[in-house]
């Protein structure tokens, strides 16, 4: 299974034929304890969960053979509520890893409670998607709207709890989700390191391209930021990024993909077989 996912992702530079059925079965047999995964949905649009499910080719075996989804409303119909809800379970189960989608609303007691509980129950907390990691477009919230006009202040979850891994993106790509899952299962900390470092990147904005790259004499006008922008807020003018702030959702992807923000040289060489 693992080999099949890796092959699908091109994670290892080896000829396709090698990932034979035999090898797939062998690796599948080697799988022992399946990690217990939770999925918590705070203030996000479910786009991150949608992106996860876009791994069509590997999703069913991933969910059934490789992990146990032990908690989550959308993915497992298992959820917990302090208010004695007859459909809810009594307490949040222990989890090896919990994916948290969405920023947290400071005025939403239920979300705050669930978030704090998740930190208590999970070994690893992943800020899944830009809303959880950087606040993303919920940063623009000013309250005064239905269903609850009091819900005004949305912050990245790392503002409230200790986060172990951040996977930004609006949404994160299906590939990075699958690659991260594989890395977690393999204990491949080298691959995960950049995402551990990104935990601290909670105040993101398209203007980071100007502040952290152009202003720092690092921009080379390659256009990676403009390609990466998920809302087409970035264009290139005279070889420098130009950010349309009306379109920017503060997801952080432009700066994260920039080759001058961080540089995973060893991994790239490994992936290319160089």
């Amino acid at each position: 299974m693992l080999a099949r996912i890796k092959e699908f992702l091109g994670m290892e530079a080896k000829p396709k034929e090698e990932a034979s059925q035999q090898e797939v079965e062998k690796v599948a047999e080697e799988e022992k304890a399946k990690p217990r995964i939770g999925y918590i949905h705070l203030s996000g649009c479910t786009g991150d969960a949608m992106s996860l499910t876009e791994n069509y080719d590997i999703l069913a075996p991933l969910l059934t053979e490789m992990v146990d989804i032990v908690y989550g409303q959308t993915l497992a119909d298992v959820w917990y509520d302090v208010e004695n809800n007859p459909y809810a379970i009594d307490d949040m189960p222990e989890m090896d890893l919990v994916l948290i989608e969405g920023s947290v609303c400071l005025q939403d007691e239920h979300s705050m409670h669930e978030l704090l509980k998740a930190r208590e129950k999970a070994g690893l907390v992943v800020a899944f998607g830009s809303c959880a990691a950087t606040g993303c477009f919920t940063r623009y919230s000013r309250g005064g709207q239905q269903a609850n006009p009091r819900h005004e202040s949305f912050v990245p979850i790392a503002d409230i709890i200790k986060v172990d891994l951040a996977m930004p993106g609006c949404p994160p790509s299906p590939e990075i989700i699958a690659k991260t899952v594989v890395a977690v299962i393999n204990g491949d900390m080298d691959y995960l390191q950049p995402m551990m470092d990104l935990v601290g990147y909670t105040e993101a904005c398209g203007c980071d391209l100007q502040l952290k790259v152009v202003n720092q004499a690092l921009c080379i006008g390659c256009g990676t930021c403009a390609m990466s922008c998920q809302t087409r807020a970035v264009t290139m003018t005279n070889g420098r990024p130009e950010v349309n702030s009306d379109r920017c959702i503060k997801c952080g992807i432009c700066y994260i993909q920039c080759p001058r923000s961080w540089w995973p040289a060893d991994r790239i060489k490994q992936d290319l077989g160089l």
């Binding site: 930004p168 994160p172 790509s173 590939e175 990075i176 080379i220 390609m227 005279n238 993909q257």
Partner: protein, 294 residues
Amino acid sequence: MVLGTYKQIVHARSTDKQIQKISQDGGIATGLLCFALDEKIIDGAVVAGPSDEMWKPEPTVALSSDEILAAAGTKYTLSPNLWMVKEAVRQNGLEKAGIVTIPCQTMGLRKMQSYPIGVRFVADKIALDIGIFCTENFPFESLKTFITAKAGVNFDLVEKMDIGKGKFWVHTADDVISFPIKETHGYEQNGCKVCLDLVSELSDISTGSIGAPDNWSSVLTRTEPGETIFSQAVDAGLIETKPMDEGKFGLEMLTKLAKSKKEKAMKEIDQRKELGLPVPYKASSEKEDPLANV
């Protein structure tokens, strides 16, 4: 290893007369892309195509040999080719995209492929990356300034620009003017100063004029797909090769220039670290090989 990991290094040129006529040196990038397109190894390519303004390239998705030929030749200014990669995959629906990149762009491309954090289903659509040697790049206004002020040539009359033998060459219909490449220093963009890569160490195939005789290119094949495509083009007779000149004006020159770019960049990187300025690379004290692109 200042030239990065490679499988073979040779001199090569396109055998196509039309390509020879319009290309910068050996016509390797143009020739390989045309070959790959004909053979359906790629279904299009992102190249530095022409824009409304002379000598100001525009990242373009080329879908035919004609469009690839229209982009032949070096433009010594910025063309954010990566910008068009998602466009090529989404708008043009390319499944096997080719792309021509200079080293910094190769790095952006490869980082996106290894960590496609916010880039959905693009990484797997890149079939061929041809990396071009690059010592430094110039903002368009810089280029204009030194062509008009130093070479004294009306910008609109320029037919070809070239760097070689320590000089910047400007060709017009009836004249060839040159000035020492040293005089372009101070006009290059700042971001180039920390760049440790002259030869596109992470491309599938790297090519450039450095170390090659006139009208030939130096070529390094690096990845499996790169080696395969290059060999196929040679076998098909579209590219001819000859052994790399190991001497002073060949491999020695390429190695020397690649090394000196790295040494200069490392000095700048170390200096920036001391000043507390951000830089994505390690200080020389932090890495085993002080010249590695890490």
